[in-house]
C-alpha cells in the first residue's frame, strides 16, 4: 500500500481532535462547572475555535496543490477533498454556534446581523460557498457537472479570501493573527497566479513561432 493510504486515516483522526477537545472542554464546563479548558466565556471560546479551524483547514487544503507541484508527490492530491470537507465541517459548527448559541433561532436578529454587519455578511457568503463546494464534492457531482465542476470549485479562492476578511473585520484591535492568515493566503494564491501566467505564455509561444 502507498504511503498516502496510511496517511489519510491518520490525518482524518487528527482533524477530529480539535472537535473532540472542544466537546470535552464544553462538557466539563456544563457538567462540573469546570471552565479550565474553555475559559470563563465558553460561547466566545466555541465561536473562536470553530472559526479558527475552519479557516486553518481551508489554508491547509489550499497547500495541497503547491505541495504536489513543488515536490512531484502526486498522491497527495488524494487528501485535498478530505481537508476541504473538514474546513466545511468546522465552518458548519461555527455557523451553528451563531445560529443556536448566539441568536437562539431568532430569525429577525440573524437577518439584521447579516444585512447590517459586513463581517457577518462576508462570513455568511463564505459559508454558502463552502456549502456548495461540500455538496458537489462527491464523484457523482464531478461527473454530472463535467467542466463546470472546476469552474465552480475555483470559488474556493473566493471563500478563502472571504474567510480572511471575516477574521480581519471582527477583531477589535489586534490584527496580528488575521494578518498572518492574509500573508499565508497571499503566498498560496501567488502560486496559482504564477502558474496561470506560465501556462498562458507556454500556450502562446508556439503560435508566435
Amino acid at each position: 500500500m502507498k504511503a498516502i493510504a496510511y496517511l489519510k486515516p491518520v490525518i482524518f483522526a487528527a482533524a477530529l481532535i480539535p472537535a473532540a477537545a472542544l466537546a470535552y472542554g464544553v462538557s466539563l464546563a456544563l457538567v462540573y462547572g469546570d471552565t479550565r479548558h474553555v475559559g470563563a466565556d465558553p460561547l466566545d471560546y466555541i465561536t473562536d475555535q470553530t472559526g479558527w479551524w475552519a479557516l486553518t483547514f481551508l489554508m491547509i487544503a489550499l497547500c495541497v496543490t503547491p505541495i504536489r507541484r513543488l515536490t512531484g508527490w502526486n498522491a497527495v492530491i488524494r487528501l485535498r477533498r478530505m481537508l476541504g470537507l473538514f474546513s466545511f465541517f468546522y465552518a458548519l459548527l461555527h455557523m451553528l454556534t451563531w445560529l443556536v448559541l448566539l441568536n437562539f433561532f431568532d430569525v429577525d436578529a440573524m437577518v439584521k446581523d447579516v444585512i447590517k454587519r459586513p463581517y457577518i455578511t462576508v462570513g455568511m457568503a463564505t459559508f454558502l460557498i463552502l456549502s456548495a463546494l461540500a455538496m458537489t464534492s462527491n464523484r457523482f457531482a464531478v461527473r454530472v457537472l463535467g467542466r463546470k465542476w472546476q469552474t465552480l470549485h475555483r470559488f474556493v479562492y473566493v471563500a478563502a479570501i472571504g474567510g480572511v476578511i471575516h477574521f480581519w473585520w471582527l477583531v477589535k484591535a489586534d490584527i496580528t493573527e488575521p494578518r498572518r492568515y492574509a500573508v499565508i493566503l497571499a503566498v498560496l494564491l501567488a502560486f496559482r497566479v504564477w502558474w496561470a501566467v506560465q501556462k498562458r505564455s507556454a500556450k502562446t509561444r508556439p503560435a508566435v513561432a
Binding site: A29, A40, I46, A109, A173
Partner: protein, 319 residues
Amino acid sequence: MLIKKAADIRSSEITPKSLYLRRREFIQASAAALVAAGCGTLAGDDVAAQGGGLTKLQNVKKGSAFNTTEKLNSYDDITSYNNFYEFGTDKGEPKQSSKNFKPRPWTIAVEGEVVKPATYQLEDFIKPYTLEERIYRMRCVEAWSMVIPWVGIPLADVIKHVQPTSRAKFVEFTTLLDPSRMPYQRSRVLDWPYVEGLRLDEAQHPLAILAVGLYGEVLPNQNGAPLRLVVPWKYGFKGIKSIVKMRLLEKQPVNTWQRMAPNEYGFYANVNPNVDHPRWSQAKETRLPGLFRNHPTQMFNGYDQVASLYSGLDLRKNF
C-alpha cells in the same frame, strides 16, 4: 457454502432493563442539566468563601445599598478572563503575563484644575477614605457580563478631597506607561498609555468607585492593580486599570478606544441595549460562564439612578 452468521450483540452492549425503563428520566435529566447550564451561571459562591490568597483588606464596610443580589462570578472566572491589553490581547493572557508585575510601591499624580495638585503614595492616597464593598454587574462592550464584588473608595470623595477649581468639567485617568513592566506596551495595538475620562458630574456619582480590591483582598494584577476605575453603568473599557494619573480638565478628554475607532467607541460608553456596536448587537449579553447569549441587556446596565445625568442628551449620538 459458508453462510456468515450475524455477529451477536455482546452482552456488554445491552442496556440493562432497569436503565432502559428509566430512559425518559435520563433524557429529561440531561436536558434539564443543559438548560440549567445555559440559563444560569455555573459557578460562584459567596464573598467570604473565595479569594486568591492575596492580602486581605481590613475595615471594609459591607452591605452597600448599591449591591446586586445576583449570583457572583467565581474568583477564578473574574481573574482569568481579562481585557487588559497591556498584558496581552487574549483574555486568558493577562493572568499569566502579569504574574511578576509589582504594583507596590505606587504613586498617583493629581494634576490640572485642582486647588491642591500633588503626587501621593498609594497608601496615602487611599488612607482618608473608608473602603467599601460594592457588588456590581460588569457589562463588557463585547456583550458578556459578570457580577463582581469589588472593594473600593467612592470617587466622589476623592474628587472632593483634591478640590477641583471652578473650571474643572472633566476627569482624565491615565494608566502606567512602562513597557518593561507591561510587556504588551511594546506592541502598537493601542496608543499607549491607556487613557479614560468622565464628565465631572459622572465622576461624582456615588456609584463610581476607584477599586483597590476584589473578593475582600487586594486587587490582583490582571484586574488592574493596585487601583482602577469602576463605573458600572458604562461598558467595561471605561474602567481604566493601574492608574498613575488623575487630571481635572476644562475640556473633554479623548479616551483611548475613541481615538482608536471613533465610529465604534464613544466618550460616554453608557450600557445601552438600543444602540448597537457597528459590528454586533448590544441588545443581549452572555452572563458568564453561560453558553447562550440570552441575557437581556438593561439600560445603564440596570443602574437607572444615573439616568438624570443624561437628560437632554442624545444617547444615540453620544454613544
